[in-house]
Amino acid sequence: MVLVLRALAGLVGTLLLAVLAAAGLAAAVFAIQGGDGTLSLSQLAGLLALDELRDVVGGWLADLQAGGPIAAIAALSGAAAVMLGLGLVVGALVPRRERLLVIERSARGALGARRRAAASALRALAEQPREVLGAKVRVRPRRRGVGGRVRVTLLRARTADAGEVLEAARGTCQPLAEQLSLRLRTRQRAPRRSRGVR
């Protein structure tokens, strides 16, 4: 349920942002000229038929005040809108539950680790070779079942051989990755060439 609400909150948030951006752009463009010019706000109001909209909405609001079936439908719609709003708030505010990496599961119990713990241990190992300047580790546990995948991205020294760096990092990380029931993937990149200090 919370997953659905979270997805809905994300979708509605994105759509609202897009609508807001379009409205802001339109308002900015139609504020270029004043008075009754082509790019004036009064022209924008005319294009959007705000006068007619006022008449329509005004009549509808008068019906609401009068009571009857339209008022009942409006009350129900209002209640539904409030419920939807509360659902969106729940979807936006309820914290995401972290997926735990399950290392083994048996009749005696399960053994698991947080992704951050597994990643930090693997990063420490990946950064051991001298040629590795840094490492980024991403652990992806399986949604169901034991184990998962880990991707280690190595930042190697420019002078270091890419193949050797990968081999060395694999050698240091593989035993722990196997312990954690993770399938290891390594890749490397050299640092970007900078212009240096001027």
Partner: protein
């Protein structure tokens, strides 16, 4: 010294206390209650951190140990096996062997070695 069951304290809480002692006796792990202090068990006048116990439908008690492991971590399957064995032994001595169900082990973080402790 194993704990004796008393009428005032349930077997569930007694097992939580035993689990706390097992963690405290380990050289390689410590207990963590988590950032939101979710992983605790209420004892009579305090909270047992890093231990969550739950009664199951078959009358047993499942125990969760929430831990921070020292670097370098010992093989985690061995670590879990040691903790389970020690807890089982303590429960047996306390007469709670038949109440102890599954023991789940969760590693939440890995802590760097303390340089002061190494120097000593």
């Amino acid at each position: 010294m194993p704990e004796r069951a008393s009428p005032a304290v349930s077997g569930r809480v007694l097992l939580a206390r035993l689990a706390e002692q097992v963690i405290a006796a380990s050289d390689t792990v410590g207990a963590t209650a988590g950032r939101g202090r979710h992983w605790v068990t209420a004892d009579t006048e305090r909270l047992i951190e890093g231990v969550v116990v739950a009664d199951t439908s078959n009358g047993q008690v499942d125990v969760e140990l929430h831990l921070v492991a020292d670097w370098p971590p010992e093989p985690l399957d061995q670590l879990a096996a040691h903790l389970r064995r020690d807890l089982r032994r303590s429960a047996s001595l306390a007469g709670l062997d038949d109440r102890l169900g599954e023991t789940h082990v969760a590693i939440h973080d890995i802590r760097a070695p303390d340089p002061d402790a190494e120097a000593r």
